[in-house]
Symmetry: C2
Subunit: 367 residues, 2 copies
């Protein structure tokens, strides 16, 4: 296995000291920041995530803040999702597209007030696109990256742990809503959201100085809940159909190809810079789309590049994420599949580094 | 040491197979792509770079191509360096700034023709900024990331190796100029440039399919020159004063703070979006600036975060890169130092993770 070379350019987070003390075994880099990927093992972390509660350093979900009279207009320029009905206190998953309809990011937008928004970004410097648009259109808005580092609490015991630190009213937060909760003398946004399907919260930790005190408070409060440091889990996120920007989609893809058509209201999203480009695909549909794919046989090796999906000698797609699922006792995978072969039950082959494997296009993800 | 988790999101390069066969020991991530950092050891790689010749996979220096009638205008909007005298065939190191004068990247611009430019970027998604500006200003220009992967040939024997593969006329390329040279049936840009002070070239490999054939050709042609796979070397680049975006500077810094004032012609760079913001700092100078710093005593640990530079109990700067130099038998470092303490010979202390160390601000870098 190859090591990671640490440098100041791969930014540490307010929680890195805790992550290291918990024995992090591997990192990836996400938004120029360290993101833990393994603590005990991917399989042990997976089992624990589904049974207990984990504290995740997802500070790499950097925020882009938009503040000012044109913040709402700018936000709508970025996405084909119609934001007119969105209220302060809500979170929306929003595909972000360029003028050709290509995906630039797939963040969660947090509406703090009519004139103040955060977007909690996936792995691309979305700040640069938003600043460029705001400057080019001379919009009356401030755009920057504030000192906010999300900490996720995920797993079936997440409500119990959070209630011990923030009080029982955190239990009342509805899915993709947020409230303000106090810690260390500061009011923090706490949302019911997160990159797993095991339930939980994301705390938008404002100010790096309270990062480790909050980490410690959660670890101490959850000792009898078997709380442990964790991280987004490769197996669980594939089972759950949670896409990863850069893995499962890039700027080559439209939201419709990514199966995100339900988050697009292309006709009514007036002002979205990608609207013209997306109107046709919104009407006619894409010719390839993300699908769950089951790869039969023994556990596959790590998927670090596209694996071709073939039918006979014709390529009909590619796999972008794959892992052995202990719970479903098969290899779960995410692929982009051409229309001719995307129907559930279609039998295909996947060319893995270990050779071709029989595979089946599935109807739904596993979780 | 912590491992790196490989995934499709951390893009492989056309040379990755060669890098792995050569026994890469560590990677970093740069522009969402794998960048090797160690082959034998940082010290052995350093010695070899200074004595022989290395082939570097720097495909992570992604290109942003600008093509069209407004390409030149757009290029000038990005940088405070006056580009009016630049000719096709030249490469310019260009600070790129936002509307506040903050550094967004420090690429090398390659002028292919009056209406066609590449910028060979450091570690930020500069494509997003350039696309945003081009879209916001409705410029008549195409902006995208072409399938070009730079391969660097660095070291004192670089001319000999290159001549064997591309012919003796590569020897005539002047510093920061380029020519077109044929390989594998394709005409490639070959520039005399690179991220070391040991001399050499960068080949802009167009089309991933010829990546490994070129890699192999260079390795075979250079066997008796002791050619080896290499990579930008931490020690050598600090000795040489080669800054690293994300390490030594960020969007918090102006070009002048980074000691790049000589690449700025702020008064005459009409059209640069950061011009207004930079006019005052160009006239009055910055209040802090990059300096070489010698840290006395034993080898310092890896510098993975800012180390405070103090005078008494006052912080007067920070170190962003540091390494033990075998040739100069001291710790060489790069720091951002306040005006009050930036004169050569000033004695300061550096707070390393191992405790405070005596240090001296230097006049010039080492190489």
């Amino acid at each position: 296995m190859v090591q990671i070379s640490l440098s100041r350019r791969l930014r540490r987070t307010p929680f890195s000291d805790g992550v290291e003390a918990a024995g992090v075994k591997a990192y990836t880099v996400y938004n120029h920041m360290l993101l833990p990927t393994v603590f005990r093992s991917i399989q042990e972390d997976y089992r624990h995530l589904k049974e207990a509660v984990q504290v995740w350093d997802v500070a790499c979900e950097r925020q882009v803040e938009m503040r000012g009279p044109d913040a709402g207009r700018l936000m709508q320029m970025l996405t084909p999702r119609d934001l007119r009905g969105m209220l302060p206190g809500q979170c929306y998953y929003v595909p972000i597209v360029d003028e050709t309809g290509g995906m630039l990011n797939d963040p969660v937008a947090v509406k703090l007030a009519e004139d103040r928004w955060w977007v909690s970004i996936a792995d691309s410097d979305l700040l640069f696109w938003i600043k460029g648009i705001a400057y080019g259109y001379r919009l009356d808005v401030l755009v920057d990256e504030p000192d906010i580092s999300p900490l996720a609490i995920q797993g079936p015991k997440a409500d119990d742990l959070m209630a011990r630190v923030f009080g029982d009213s955190v239990r009342d937060i509805r899915f993709f809503r947020f409230g303000w909760f106090r810690f260390g003398g500061r009011d923090l946004v706490v949302a019911r959201s997160g990159y797993s399907k095991q339930g939980g919260f994301e705390i938008y930790v404002e100010g790096g100085d309270i990062g480790m005190p909050l980490w410690q408070a959660l670890m101490e409060a959850g000792r009898d809940l078997d709380v442990h440091a964790g991280c987004p889990n490769l197996i669980e996120r594939i089972e759950s159909g949670l896409l990863s920007y850069g893995n499962d989609m890039t700027d080559d893809n439209t939201p419709h190809e990514c199966g995100l058509g339900r988050f697009c209201n292309t006709h009514s999203a007036i002002g979205c810079v990608g609207r013209d480009a997306l109107l046709r695909v919104a009407r006619e549909g894409p010719v390839r789309q993300i699908r769950p794919v089951e790869i039969h046989g023994d556990p596959v090796p790590p998927c670090d590049r596209h694996w071709p999906v073939v039918a006979g000698d014709r390529q009909v797609g590619s796999i972008s994420s794959a892992a052995w699922s202990p719970d479903f006792e098969t290899n779960v995978a995410i692929g982009m599949i051409r229309m001719t072969h995307w129907d559930a039950g279609t039998e295909v082959d996947v060319i893995t580094p270990d050779g071709p494997r029989a595979a089946t296009v599935c109807e739904t993800f596993w979780n």
